[in-house]
């Protein structure tokens, strides 16, 4: 008896990675949505709080993270050709840009904390720290994954690592305009 073809059969990569990615995106999107709704309640406070953030540093971080996404993509292309060493170099490069991202992020956090701003300061900063904090944790986790798959690069492993890394990338591209730029 022939089974009908599963729609999941054409999915690139592991199903479970997609479940994770969709779950992550859902949580971050809900968080951003709540931030936007709370903003309606007190736009002045949100605008004033937002002015205390480092837009330039976050802008640089956007470039850094998107570039590292390019590196992860190149690693996938390289390993598909069987080129282990270049794939490893691209993965390490991507993870290295992750270090720069986290460094800049730490400077931002340190500055906020030195101004006496914390997670309890107001609703804006609660969400600022929750969203960027969760995101930074994912950057750190993503770097670990990239380093793990770089040890002995395999097409499936590198692809899974790159999938995760692109998700981290995508989340930042959603966070950045809403948290830092939206006037």
């Amino acid at each position: 008896m022939s089974q009908p073809r599963s729609p999941l059969a054409d999915l690139p990569g592991e199903l479970i990675m997609w479940v994770l990615i969709v779950s992550e995106l859902a949580v971050f999107c809900v968080c951003l949505l709540i931030l936007l709704v709370l903003r309606l309640g007190d736009p002045a406070l949100f605008a004033q709080s937002q002015d205390q953030l480092h837009r330039a540093a976050a802008g640089i971080n956007t470039v850094v993270l998107v570039s590292s996404g390019y590196g992860a993509a190149r690693a996938v292309a390289a390993i598909r050709q069987g080129a282990e060493a270049p794939a490893r170099r691209w993965l390490l490069g991507a993870a290295g840009l992750g270090v720069i991202f986290l460094g800049l992020k730490s400077v931002e956090y340190a500055d906020a904390i030195s101004k006496g701003i914390g997670v309890e300061t107001n609703a804006f900063f609660t969400f600022y720290f929750l969203l960027t904090g969760f995101h930074a944790a994912h950057v750190a986790a993503g770097m670990v994954i990239l380093l793990l798959v770089a040890i002995r690069p395999q097409p499936d492993g590198v692809q899974a690592g790159a999938q995760f890394w692109h998700m981290v990338d995508l989340v930042w591209v959603l966070l950045f305009p809403i948290i830092y730029l939206l006037q």
Partner: protein
């Protein structure tokens, strides 16, 4: 039954059903105390009855999980259980502990004694010696089933089951840690209470459900495993940080209100996935299994878990709502339907499935068994609705209008009477169930083939 040692499950299931009878009887007594508050107030104070009601529930469900594992693991690993003796020793320890708990609670023995007396922590009231006994029993169990699996075939079902059972035992260890700071006390307390029922128990549930679907519908193992992984991933993703919905008002930082609200809202996803899984498997299934009652319990489990855990949980999980409803009858409504749907129905499903096989006979008394499903589930649903209405009124009068707790209680007897009626239905259903499983009768629903497939061919039942 393919393996002799699967029969170990029988002893576990019989003990579980005995405690199930104790649990619902206590429930009925408490239902009566709600309408007639002085009933047994000297002999069996409400708090003691409540401890017995919730403790016996947890213990019989645990016995059900252990029994399910002893039944499933030999078939999954394709070998006998490593040591049947250890399995019976484990059961003996658990029965001794349970008896100790009941006697200690009823007569309030060794009051205040750290080792022998009951402790004041809700649900974790067990005297320390019982807690140690439970730990020892869990270790014996884990050793026994892990050795069996390690030596045999490794399947997704047994891996997820073992992951759930190992995590269950590890989280139990937090029951021993009782910091004097009340906030920390409550926080670690939830690491047992929440991370069990909304975390690792869901893994056990998914794995037992997957086993039942595999046997009852004959769907390919590969398909079942794919679903299983998705369910496990979404359960852990939402459930772990979902613990935050218990941190709202116990003294932890306010950002937990958002983390708890957001993550616990996603806890409905694994329950929806389990319900979809069960129904899709039945639709896709090529097997017409003779044990219809087991299928009814399995499907009922997935639906009622979705409503009791998922929908009724979501109802009051957002902190803006929970600010008003916290600790009202809304919580009781959710607790009853969630435990009943997710875990009671699950264990009754596998008992219904496994008992006839272990006793080497056709599935007798199916009509009676199915009647018990409808009676028990109908009673439980009615109780849920009644308590939800009672909780809504209570929330309004007490939390919005600001009336005194006992004045509000005086406004609710109508609901408590109806809840008692619903409880009677549940107890009758439980009696019917135990009768249908334990007492041999001659009634079999269909004669016919043991397993006829939709494509025409016939095979023997498993």
């Amino acid at each position: 039954m393919k393996y002799h040692t699967q029969r170990i499950a029988m002893a576990y299931f019989v003990t579980a059903m005995a405690l199930f009878a104790v649990q619902v009887t206590m429930g009925l007594i408490m239902g009566w105390i709600y309408v007639s508050p002085n009933f047994l107030s000297e002999l069996l104070p409400f708090n003691i009855a409540r401890m017995l009601h919730s403790n016996s529930l947890i213990v019989w469900l645990l016995l059900g999980f252990f029994g399910s594992a002893y039944y499933m693991i030999p078939e999954e690993a394709e070998r006998e259980i490593y040591s049947p003796k250890l399995a019976y020793l484990q059961l003996g320890i658990l029965i001794l502990g349970t008896a100790g708990v009941v006697v200690t609670y009823l007569f309030d023995l060794f009051q205040g004694n750290w080792l022998l007396g009951k402790q004041g922590r809700e649900f974790l009231e067990q005297p320390t010696w019982v807690k140690i006994g439970i730990t020892v029993a869990a270790l014996i169990f884990l050793y026994n089933v892990t050795m069996t699996v390690l030596q045999g075939r490794k399947t997704a079902i047994s891996n997820v089951l073992l992951l759930g059972l190992w995590a269950l035992a590890l989280l139990w260890l937090f029951a021993f840690y009782n910091p004097s700071n009340l906030v920390l006390d409550k926080q670690y307390w939830w690491w047992v209470v929440h991370l069990w029922v909304e975390g690792v128990w869901e893994l056990i549930m998914a794995s037992i459900l997957a086993f039942l679907m595999l046997k009852l519908t004959g769907v390919d193992r590969e398909v079942v495993e794919k679903w299983l992984y998705v369910i496990v991933a979404t359960a852990l993703f939402s459930g772990i940080l979902g613990t935050g919905h218990h941190y709202y008002w116990i003294g932890l930082p306010a950002y937990w209100q958002w983390i708890g609200s957001i993550f616990s809202s996603f806890e409905i996803v694994p329950f929806f996935a389990m319900m979809s899984f069960a129904f899709v498997m039945v639709w896709k299934g090529r097997r017409d299994h003779p044990n219809k009652a087991a299928l009814l319990w399995s499907l009922g489990c997935s639906v009622l878990a979705f409503f009791g855990g998922g929908v009724w949980g979501f109802l009051h999980t957002l902190h803006g709502v929970n600010y008003y409803t916290h600790g009202t009858q809304i919580t009781a409504a959710h607790g009853h339907l969630a435990f009943y749907g997710a875990y009671v129905c699950l264990i009754l499903a596998i008992i219904t499935y496994a008992m006839p096989i272990m006793r080497n006979r056709d599935p007798y008394n199916q009509v009676l068994n199915m009647a018990s499903f409808w009676l028990m589930s109908g009673g439980m649903l009615f109780m849920t609705f009644v308590l939800t209405f009672a909780g809504t009124i209570q929330t309004h009068l007490q939390r919005v209008e600001g009336n005194y707790y006992m004045d509000v209680q005086d406004a609710l007897p109508l609901f408590y009477w109806m809840r008692f009626g619903a409880g009677v239905a549940v107890v009758l259903g439980a009696v019917l169930f135990i009768w249908s499983v334990m007492v041999p009768r001659r009634e079999v629903v269909t004669a016919g083939p043991v397993q006829s497939h939709k494509d025409g061919h016939i095979e023997a039942a498993e």
